[in-house]
Amino acid sequence: MRFSVLVEVQLRPGISDPQGATIERSLPTLGFSGVVGVRAGKAIRFEIEADSETAARSEVDELCRTFLTNPVIEDATVVMGPG
């Protein structure tokens, strides 16, 4: 079975996100108001082939833990759908 996956990687809460903060600071001068709490992370999309949804999910989790994030500073959120 094939699944399509979106992994969103963000810095963990409490860790400063200079990129997000800089984007946020610049918005008013660009004419955008009312935007707060900007966090800038990564979005990684791919397709995965696995025997079951559970198998796919556990491979993706492992991938996030060991490769796509450094859990010391980053969290991953996974969204999976049919491929």
Binding site: P18, Q19, T22, I23, L30
Partner: protein, 225 residues
């Protein structure tokens, strides 16, 4: 009177002093222009220097293009004034749509600071005016996002109109068409990834950048008279 070159400084720019020094070495008169200024003052050419305007956050040039000075730069360019973007300056010019295309991450996914062998591909720009087409120049590159990208129609247009100004002899970053520098239709707005100011002294290993800066000063004088 020596041609006057305004060097725009954004927060995070870092090559402004180097460019100013090289411009002066080439016989021009350089002044620094702060990004928040809405006017350029009395100048004959503008350089957007290298560096990391606004930390390159989001995308190189994405925030810088909204600076007040960019309106003045666009007006100056529209009047035919010579505008050159070096490295980060090139990225800002593309974000500001003063030049087509975009600069993506290098193919090898690393920052690259090294000499590059270039070939002059067109003499129809303010930076290569009177420089022999085919001439080889050795000028350093220093970038992470220098991989020039555009849609096929734009590429065909650039090639067809002779607007590819400089090409890499040995493409370091995956740039389409080995493009190191391009210009607008008028030839007065030029963007290039290599740093001419870094090839401005024999002690630095090359003076080839002075060929380009001298051409720019020539164009600047021509505009003024």
């Amino acid at each position: 009177m020596a041609p006057r070159v305004g060097v725009v400084v954004f927060p995070g720019s870092n090559c402004e002093h180097d460019v100013a020094a090289a411009v002066e070495g080439a016989g021009g008169e350089a002044s620094l222009v702060w990004h928040a200024d809405a006017t350029l003052g009395a100048i004959d050419a503008v350089v957007l220097p290298g560096g990391f305007a606004h930390g390159d956050y989001l995308r190189p040039g994405a925030i810088a293009r909204f600076s007040p000075v960019m309106t003045a730069v666009a007006d100056f360019a529209a009047d035919g004034g010579p505008v050159v973007g070096i490295c980060n300056g090139f990225q800002i010019l593309t974000e500001a749509r003063l030049l087509p295309g975009a600069l993506q991450k290098n193919r090898g996914l690393t920052f690259l600071c090294q000499p590059a062998e270039l070939e002059v591909a067109s003499a129809a720009s303010v930076l290569t005016r009177d420089v022999e087409v085919g001439r080889r120049l050795r000028i350093p590159v220093n970038h992470f996002e220098g991989n020039y990208t555009c849609d096929p129609a734009t590429l065909a247009e650039l090639e067809g109109e002779g607007r590819v100004v400089l090409r890499y002899v040995d493409n370091p970053n995956g740039s389409m068409g080995d493009i190191a520098g391009i210009c607008n239709q008028g030839g007065n707005v030029v963007g290039l990834m290599p740093h001419p100011e870094r090839a401005s002294d024999t002690l630095l290993g090359s003076t080839d950048g002075m060929v380009l800066l001298a051409a720019l000063l020539g164009a600047a004088s021509a505009v003024r008279t």
